[in-house]
Symmetry: C2
């Protein structure tokens, strides 16, 4: 179906060796990675990625929030590029593949085209988005969000980590405060390959997931205001312990997740209390929660339920609560034409696929606002992710990379 | 009744000016203090205290955990000293008087004796115990505990703060790693004057509290072990979020406090979660709780109730929990003879007193294990404490300091 390059396949051993090389940069404690955004480990990985791209003949540009674009010229280089990518940063105790597969598969596609001496009509780019995980600087998917106009660039540059270090300063420190404008240019299409982060592909022995959309996700940060007091003498009815109010919110969010089980789920990923010290009741706490459900209306109802629980918890703990920040993603559809191209590429290669929804956030969500976008999943062992034990096998990973290759080629020669 | 010095009174203006001077060292944000143990602020306060003591003719020694002893010689300097004291460190957002009053009142007693040219039979000492608050290095009352043999000295020296800084290193850094052995010497008696940290004295317009004992307090640190996983895809029945287990413990502890209200109370002062980051469920959490009741059996029952709640919470959150550390204080009586001396001193001065229990922990608890000990309370405005708004008035504070003076004099001339 596809065109001139029907029989091209990626070099799976080269891809795997590239992934293993990445797995040595910022090793975790038990086989995974700790490569937080804008750390020295991130810098070493970025330098390596840029070197690989330049060795592959690409021209590399970096934008003001540190997103790296490696470009393989097209026959008509004035046309918008077909872009592949994901992210190279990890969670604090993350795996070797989350995000990384998508970037390094993109590099492998370019290397394969070089091997073939292929010339595509449109340019092809690989992008590594800065700080997808949000593990060091919240929120997650920050730099793809800035690219898509969801976040203001200066706001992103001013965000601080838990040690008070500023995103923009750290970006400069590692040498990736680029001068290219963030966003404002056209992609022909954006394809992101990512591990599933769930067990369904492996369980059904299908190696390609065509992601048609996401679970609707709504997240928020709640500030809880109480009053400091001595932990001993203060009688129960005079206490305004922010930690107790925050704990009630966490339990309520968890109960709501169970009420919408098995489709729905809720998470509390973060609680901060102040002063959080022996002998004193805390006067301030902050809780980060989110709610996910495949049906948008159900997610919205979970939020309504939670707000009602907030009111009760505030009264019961004798504290004040307010929602300080909200976000949402997942309730949108990817591009029909791009999705269909993935289906046809899979068919062409004789690789079965299944349609699925993503439960996690991905840079592709943001990019879908400014470009035709599709997300491809490949299997992930036991669905374990955001964990050093995250694991994939080469033989069930290669099919999705070849689907990516065929889809990008078809799109670039269109 | 008392002896040679019946008509001696402290210099209240000098005492107040000394307290105000202390209130300038490590100022907080709203009139209180932030003078955490072994910080630069603590060093400046210690230097000032030592200078004041030496100006008052005292010889100063510092023990291996940084406790400072200022000694006014007695006629028979081979006799065990009568000791007064408390602590000069504060909470992270603490008041100007908690602990500080007890140390500086002791200094004022010595200055008053100097004014009189008084010679006492026994030596008199003022002690400032290191790190009573435990706000930076847990547990609280650490250095008086080491003095009383409750804690091992090397264990104390090895404790780390939240930034990983070591107690012993920080003590050296500020110049207060003394060479005197910790404990192992006799006190004739120990008198601690402290603000009440409750509203009862003020409410009843009584200015001296004779503290006969304490609320029985039982505290513990619970470790919660779950598993990291992606906050999105993981279904509710596969989650092992340590933060959720910890939150259930906090809510349970709070409910138990209410079940024993008004006499009983419970506190959760501290929760730590790891990694506590966006996008990932935490695999480890730590919660610090305590339970207090005037009746020891009731406090013990609160702990039994809590352990039962722990079992339920561990099952409900699908995590493991274990008690990592426990402590207790308050279920002991102070020395009858010392208490009676305080009563008689108050009567002699025509100052009404009331008997009471302490709800908070004090260095005096530990010292009561190795010395006849008594604790005197003076009023505290609205009972507000461990809060920058902590406030006392000179006119209702001076009576307790004169009671301290008379009691110490009587004991020292015994």
């Amino acid at each position: 179906m596809v065109g001139l390059h029907d029989n091209v396949r990626i070099d799976s051993k080269r891809l795997w060796s590239t992934i293993l090389h990445s797995a040595e940069i910022g090793p975790g404690k038990s086989g995974g990675l700790r490569r937080l955004a804008l750390t020295d480990e991130d810098r070493v990985m970025r330098d390596q990625f840029v070197a690989w791209c330049e060795q592959a003949g690409c021209s590399v540009t970096v934008d003001r929030v540190g997103n790296i674009f490696a470009r393989r010229a097209g026959a008509d280089d004035s046309l918008p590029p077909v872009v592949m990518g994901s992210h190279l940063d990890t969670q604090v105790a993350g795996g070797r593949y989350d995000g990384i597969l998508g970037v390094l598969a993109g590099l492998e596609v370019i290397r394969t085209l070089n091997d073939q001496g292929a010339v595509t009509k449109r340019p092809i780019e690989v992008v590594s988005w800065t700080n997808e995980e949000g593990a060091r600087f919240a929120p997650p998917m920050m730099a793809s969000g800035a690219f898509a106009g969801v976040y203001d660039v200066d706001w992103v540059l001013g965000i601080k980590d838990d040690d008070g270090k500023v995103f923009g300063d750290e970006l400069k420190r590692i040498g990736y405060a680029g001068d290219t404008l963030v966003g404002g240019r056209e992609f022909d299409a954006y394809f992101e390959l990512h591990i599933e982060q769930g067990p369904d592909l492996e369980r059904t022995d299908v190696h390609v997931g065509v992601v048609t959309g996401g679970f609707t996700t709504r997240g928020m940060i709640i500030d809880v205001h109480g009053e400091t007091a001595h932990a001993g003498p203060t009688p129960m009815d005079k206490r305004r312990n922010a930690t107790v109010g925050a704990a009630m919110l966490i339990v309520a969010a968890n109960d709501i997740g169970w009420a919408y089980h098995p489709e729905g789920r809720s998470s509390t990923v973060r609680i901060l209390c102040w002063p959080n010290k022996p002998g004193i009741l805390s006067d301030y706490a902050q809780v980060t929660v989110d709610f996910r459900h495949p049906e948008t209306a159900k997610t919205e109802q979970m939020v309504v339920d939670f707000k009602s629980a907030m009111t009760q918890a505030a009264e019961r703990a004798n504290v004040e609560m307010e929602i300080a920040q909200t976000w949402g993603f997942g309730d949108l559809n990817f591009d029909d034409e791009c999705l269909d191209l993935i289906r046809r590429s899979s068919d062409h290669l004789g690789i079965p696929y299944r349609e699925m929804l993503s439960l996690a956030g991905h840079d592709a969500y943001h990019i879908s606002r400014v470009s035709p976008t599709a997300l491809i999943f490949s299997p992930c062992h036991d669905g374990i992710t955001h964990n050093e034990a995250e694991h994939i096998e080469l033989d069930y990973t290669v099919p999705s990379v070849n689907v990516l290759l065929q889809s990008v080629l078809a799109r670039a020669d269109r």
